[in-house]
Symmetry: C2
Subunit: 337 residues, 2 copies
């Protein structure tokens, strides 16, 4: 029984591919002015979202999308087997406090900006393994909470280099189920942590590109598939510089992904008009583009099979201060119409 599910170390093919029953998205004002505006369900103009702090605003967004995904599928919190969630804040407080409100058995994850894909891969395993009927997955980020935690006090208005990316404000949620109608998760590839020595915290794309490449190459090798087998390969938040590096690295591995690759961090903002430097980033970047844009592409029949690759930079401000380079990870799932 075990053997056919494993197609390589880190890669599994699901026996009964779990279904994405519903997704939900919410974003901030800047994301609502971007090219994907019409793929998001709700745009919140107030960065505080009526709360007393940015952190509480982020938390409210995460709770709202999780509840909305459940409501869309007419599933109650008490029917959900597990909540898998995480975010960028220290001690993943957005996820922890939302888990308190929902009272669903909770598995806290930390995969930095790859979290929604880490959750999707793991959730699909829990369902296909027979341990769950419904798994709820969510992730969030907020420009102002991330900025003050990872970089400078926001009041300081520090300049950022052009390789820096803009943390997406928003949250995305996915309700995964053992059966029903919707795109299916057919495979998952859990990534290894890769670090080629990039140490610039203002160029996360460069740090993450090798991890994305490693995961994609492992996935193709494990599944014996080619790049052309996917209508779209969608990475999480490599941005402009990371994307260029990924294309170059993949070419070195003998794969041309330039025709069918895109990146959530490039899709979500108009870099020419929105002053986001190298593009979007943050847990919400992959989450809202996957739960919004990607799902819409499936619903409209524009995609049949996509490889989504969440990317995460696994540093902390302290590791940078202690002179470390930046480890990164990429987790991939195959979504099929």
């Amino acid at each position: 029984m075990a053997a056919p599910k494993k197609v390589g170390i880190g890669t599994v093919a699901f026996s009964n591919p779990p279904v994405i029953l519903a997704t939900a998205t919410i974003v901030g004002a800047k994301e609502g002015e971007g090219p994907l505006a019409n793929t998001f369900e709700k745009v919140v103009e107030d960065p505080y979202y009526g709360e007393e702090s940015w952190e509480k605003a982020e938390r409210r967004m995460l709770q709202e999308v999780l509840e909305k995904a459940l409501a869309k599928a007419n599933i109650k919190p008490q029917d959900v087997d597990y909540l898998l969630a995480g975010d960028l804040l220290n001690q993943i407080i957005s996820a922890n406090f939302v888990a308190r409100a929902l009272a669903i058995p909770y598995i806290g994850l930390y995969g930095a900006c790859s979290t929604i894909y880490e959750g999707l891969a793991l959730g699909a395993m829990l369902i296909d393994g027979g341990f769950a009927q419904y798994v709820l997955i969510g992730s969030s980020s907020h420009y102002s909470t991330a900025e003050r935690q990872y970089r400078f006090p926001t009041e300081q208005g520090a300049q950022r280099p052009l390789t820096a990316q803009w943390t997406v404000t928003g949250a995305g949620a996915i309700l995964l189920a053992a059966s029903g109608a919707g795109p299916r998760v057919t495979h998952a590839t859990i990534g290894r942590v890769i670090d080629l020595g990039s140490a610039d915290p203002y160029n996360m794309g460069a740090a993450m590109a090798p991890a994305a490449a490693n995961t994609i190459v492992s996935h193709l090798s494990d599944t014996q598939r080619r790049v052309e087998d996917y209508d779209l390969i969608l990475t999480g938040d490599l941005g402009a510089y990371g994307t260029a590096l990924l294309h170059k690295l993949m070419a070195e591995y003998g794969h041309d992904i330039t025709r069918n690759h895109n990146d959530c961090g490039l899709l979500i903002f108009d870099r020419g008009k929105q002053d986001v430097h190298a593009g979007g980033s943050g847990c919400a970047c992959a989450a809202v583009v996957t739960c919004g844009y990607l799902m819409q592409q499936f619903q409209q029949g524009k995609l049949k099979r996509a490889l989504g690759v969440g990317t995460g930079a696994l540093l902390s401000p302290l590791t940078t201060q202690q002179g470390e380079s930046i480890p990164a990870v990429g987790h991939a799932v195959v979504l099929q119409a």
Copy 2:
């Protein structure tokens, strides 16, 4: 196939209970002077462990136990399907950087001090679900890294109230396998996040006791077992005050656990002699006591069936500053000889 594995929301009974093939432990000087000294494999006197920072010392400890657990079972990193790890430091940097060194497909977890049990529960699901043959699980903490991140600069020498607990320095690792000899993981109960309004970050035991009680009661109800069905119910790090509260709460639920309950945080230090106030805490507390003491009890035939309950307080310094109470979680697994 799916149905018999689920015995309740959050609780699963494994079809082919995964085996703890090997464990490994390492602790700091204070732990090496405590009552469990002879259950630990290595005691490190130098809090820096020859490294340049406490964080790097903690990381080195985590890497060492993971490699040791593999070596004991004669398994190579490349044969391991997944590494599940996490710790208390922001962005779980101990786990992330060790994952970089081991190059095993990596699932980062955050469950605060419950992490080793979160990993054990999840690892058992991945193996029993057919997605892995070997899963490596690890967690670590360090008094000095935790103290300066969560409380005061260590140089300040701030006084702590008697309800405070002492973060254990050390790391524990578990190699879980689909087959072999060793205690088996027969059930897992993933906890809900519980918060009864306790807001004192110097009394984590009080915040976590209700979560532990909720998980134990759910577990007993889901499995239709009684307290007496376990030779030992071992909680992670409730300490003296949390343990007293747990006993009281369990009594209110109609269960007397006073005869067969113990707590890793009470076992690891001699509170009379070691000036640790309410007992031990931290990710390493449950990890080293489970991987050391508990495994030894099984090896010596003193235990046939134990319920281990990792407990985690899911706050951050920032949530306390923003006036929040403390959400907590407990994850349980059944270990059987």
